[in-house]
Amino acid sequence: MLRATLKGMAARKARLALTSLAVVLGSAFIAAALVLTASIQSTVDDLNGASYADAEVLVRPVEPETRGERLVREGVSAETLAAVEATEGVGDVSATVYWMINAIGDDGKVVGGFAPTLAVNWGDRSTDRDLREGRAPETDREVAVSAEFVTDAGLGLGDTVTAYSATTDKTEYAIVGVYGYPGDRDSLGGETELAFTTAEAQRLVFDGENVYSMIAVDAAEGADTDELLAAIQATVGAEAEALTREAYTAEMSAETAEATSMIGKFLLGFGLVAVFVSIFLIANTFTIVIAGRLKEIAMMRAIGAGRGQIVRSVLAEALLLGAIASVIGAAVGVAGGAVLTTVVADSLLTAGSSSLAIPPTAVIAALAVGIGVTVLSALVPAVRASKIPPVQAMRDAVKADKPITGLTATGVVVTLAGAAAMALGLTERLGSDDADLMAAAGGAGLVFIGVTLLTAWLSKPLVGALGLLWSWSFAGKLGRRNAGRNPRRTAVTAAALMIGVTLVTATATLLTSVKESLRDYYEDNVEAELFVSGPLTASVTPSFDPAVMDEIRAVDDVDAAVELYYDLADIDGTEQYVNTTTDFEGIIGLFGGEFAEGETTTLADDEIAVNRSAADQLGVGVGDTVTATFSRGEEPHEFTVTAILVDNENTDGWYVAPAYTEEFYTTKPTMALVDVADGGDVAAVTAAVDGILADEPEVSVLNHEEFTEQATVFLDYAIIAIQLLLGLAMVVAVIGVVNTLILSILERTRELGMLRAIGMTRGQTTRMVTVESVTIALFGAVLGIGVGLALGWGLQNALAERSIDVFAVPTPLILGYLVAAVLVGLLAAIAPAVRASRVDILSAIAYE
């Protein structure tokens, strides 16, 4: 029996190879994900291990209770540094000052986007810095820059660079040196760095305070690390925290592990989608293979093979196919993971070398998933094969389509059950968040499966309707009818594309709805026509000189221009967003804010205003007192709540008098609203403000549309990332459609021969097959778009209370999906169409 199986497989190499491609893809993604995650982690660990390489003990400021940006205010004082130096067993001591700053590049723009620009004090020992050109900075107006900075900023030795921090004004520095890192690297992890004198670094980072970000301590000859650690901790007391370098490295690794596991999960998700989609493909192939062997199987049954033997023979084939495919997949995945690691290490970490880690789990998972999925997918076709009656061997195989009533009924029930679960979960009727989430996610999954079951039923009307597109051509008409001929097969084939398109459509619909809701919200609630703000992706919150506000107010047609400062402050022991502005009444008016209690137009220095839910969170009302400490504030301040605002996303948060901006983390305004007079020339105002902001590289003037774009840029990244999924689904879909078409052509050889005999040209034959292919692919896409829109609509409705109240259809993307489906159809049609047009008429119509 096994030999028969093997011989059978050898005879169907091409089809099996195509099918196994899907399994290969799935297991490769899984293996690659795990290899990449492990390798990046190990690479980053190597990098982390290199920092403070010759220190035994590190001393850093104690983290405040409420984190956020208040952290930066903290430093280890010069007194503590002196005390550490005086501690017994301490050898060399070095102190580091570092934090993010802004530098302006050759193009007048702020250097870097996601990757930060860091200020550091030259001579610290966080890492070795090797001067490649020039010398170390000696005065406060000199700077040495990393080689990466030279590349990114377009500035080099002898040039002047403008740099500033959140608290300092723009200052010009002469670049006197360019340095690299050990291993001839330009950067440690993609960041750019500027090394100043210690005093200048402290001015930039700590507003001139004589404190440090980190103290690195060498042990004196013969000193024990543990004793040294204890001694230093005793010396620094509560002001700072001492830890061994190993502990510090471990902490850093744990932090990067979070980021790397995100990438890993993303790839893993792709792998799982590929695997899910390939279930249909594999099941379909086995059904096809068995359909082609009806007589053979019946004959085996007739000569005495038991049902179990038939099932086992099919499963043996699946096992072998799964094993071969997943071994290849695991190998491809490991290789791909290695390549990806190098790419990621080069581009994201700019690490000259990467260390490859191949965890055994990567190989095991790839093999287990690949083999498991293949065998599971073959189970139904195998059982079906075993039910073929022996008498089938004697008569011509008549393939009457089994009725799809049962399938359809099940599909309807499952879809409705899924929709109900989703509705329950999304409307939060189940009491707990976890239960709601489970119900929503599980419901979505059920809807998915339900619709997949319904595809056979849906294929008749939909394929018929889609086929009307080609009704102008006779070959097209025939192709359309062929596509509708075997609803089950068409359905399973289209399912691969449907799943991919459903996922991307649902996601894109939701994200587009979020965007549109936001845009509508601004449109309805924000009086001001123009915003001044900077990108959210910047590492240092974009801000601008408040002096420009007067210039903006002086522009013709500008009714009002109000700037906004914000800080993440500690209020009554909780982290809260605090805003301030020189024109409280203006900001509330322009943002469409309303008072719920105690209306006021200005705030005195001891007054504070807040929105309803934030007030409720702290349990305070008008007349109550709160205590607030700002990011850079040394002392807490007491405020009396004088007004409560109606909840409104734009005005939510706390408001204090502008007297406190110096204590905010960002001491400059981060945003401004510009209200253009009714009938005023918005374009002219935009141009004028643009000119005023010429020296403010971080911010620009934006209309509502542009501001929404800027505020939702992270959604765009998510939308792009999710499109990659579609690409993967498309590959699998092409394989599936090719498989189905080849089978159909094999089955219809006689028909094709007849058509060619009575005068159908090769071109017409090709067109007929292509139309069938494109129709199936479009069917999958249309179904996917339909289900995706429905899911997206469900999600949007569920989130309507969280102000995602606009349902927006991502029309261009959806059109793109349709085009992609046509491409899938065309691509998949190539080989089958050629095959169909080359059908040998004589052997096709020969009988006996």
């Binding site: 025939l478 058509l755 005068g759 119509i845």
Partner: protein
């Protein structure tokens, strides 16, 4: 199969133009030791408006002859003319068009498209050509074949005889120069087979259709005006106005001395 064959009048129209002519046809398959010569120097002409049967035992080359005549197979040597035009050496495109416009086919297996209704199947050649069929003509064929009530049925809803009648209508729909029928009754019961043969006969008599039919059934051959006998790739006899009995006699005559060649396709 005792079937009353109508008395056979002299039906050959002497001096009629030849619809299909083959001269000096050679066709061999395979090479070397395994070579099988299916046709050896076959020359034959089929008169326009006549019903000719090609008979012969299995492997005699009758199907090969028909395939070569219909432009479905190529010849090694010799020429084939259809309606006075030589088709030998024509490219696939031209041949396909020729088959579409000048030739009708009736197959043993009916070969109807299961996705199309009977009427759509009848109109298939015209549809492929992107042309409009002559409605009066189509109506006439349908009426003659008694298919009026079956037009909207799919092939799976038709009996074998009905399917073959649809196939006949399809073959005649474009008024081809010649209809090639390959064992048209091979898959039918006697009654249905006779119906089909009567129609073929009628289409020759009433519409002047040219028909070339390959068969191994003497009764079927008896419906023809003329029977050409093939054995071992050669024409061994040519019988005018055949009856079932004369056909059987003729076959017996040459079967006794002609060796049965191996399978020729």
């Amino acid at each position: 199969m005792p079937l009353a064959t109508p008395p056979a009048p002299q039906r050959l129209r002497t001096g009629a133009r030849a619809a299909v002519t083959a001269s000096g046809l050679w066709r061999a398959y395979g090479s070397g030791e395994a070579q099988v010569v299916a046709l050896r120097d076959v020359s034959v002409a089929f008169a326009s408006g006549a019903f000719t049967a090609i008979m012969g035992p299995s492997g005699s080359g009758k199907s090969t002859l028909m395939h070569c005549l219909a432009g479905l197979d190529t010849t090694d040597r010799g020429t084939v003319e259809i309606g006075g035009v030589s088709i030998t050496g024509m490219g696939d495109k031209v041949l396909t068009k020729l088959r579409r416009d000048k030739i009708g086919f009736i197959f043993q297996q009916f070969n109807l498209l299961p996705t199309l209704t009977a009427e759509e199947n009848i109109l298939l050649p015209a549809s492929i050509a992107g042309a409009k069929a002559d409605p009066a003509w189509i109506h006439q064929i349908i009426a003659t074949l008694d298919l009026q009530d079956r037009l909207s049925h799919k092939p799976t809803e038709l009996s074998g005889g009905q399917q073959q009648r649809v196939a006949c209508a399809r073959a005649l729909a474009t008024r081809p120069e010649v209809v090639f029928a390959d064992e048209p009754t091979g898959n039918l019961d006697t009654r249905s087979g006779t119906e089909v043969l009567r129609f073929l006969r009628k289409s020759v008599d009433d519409f002047g259709q040219t028909i070339v039919m390959v068969t191994h059934d003497p009764t079927a051959a008896a419906h023809a005006d003329r029977v050409v006998f093939l054995a071992d790739g050669q024409i061994v006899d040519d019988l005018q106005a055949p009856t079932a009995d004369t056909v059987i006699d003729t076959m017996r005559g040459f079967e006794n001395h002609a060796p049965i060649a191996g399978e020729a396709r």
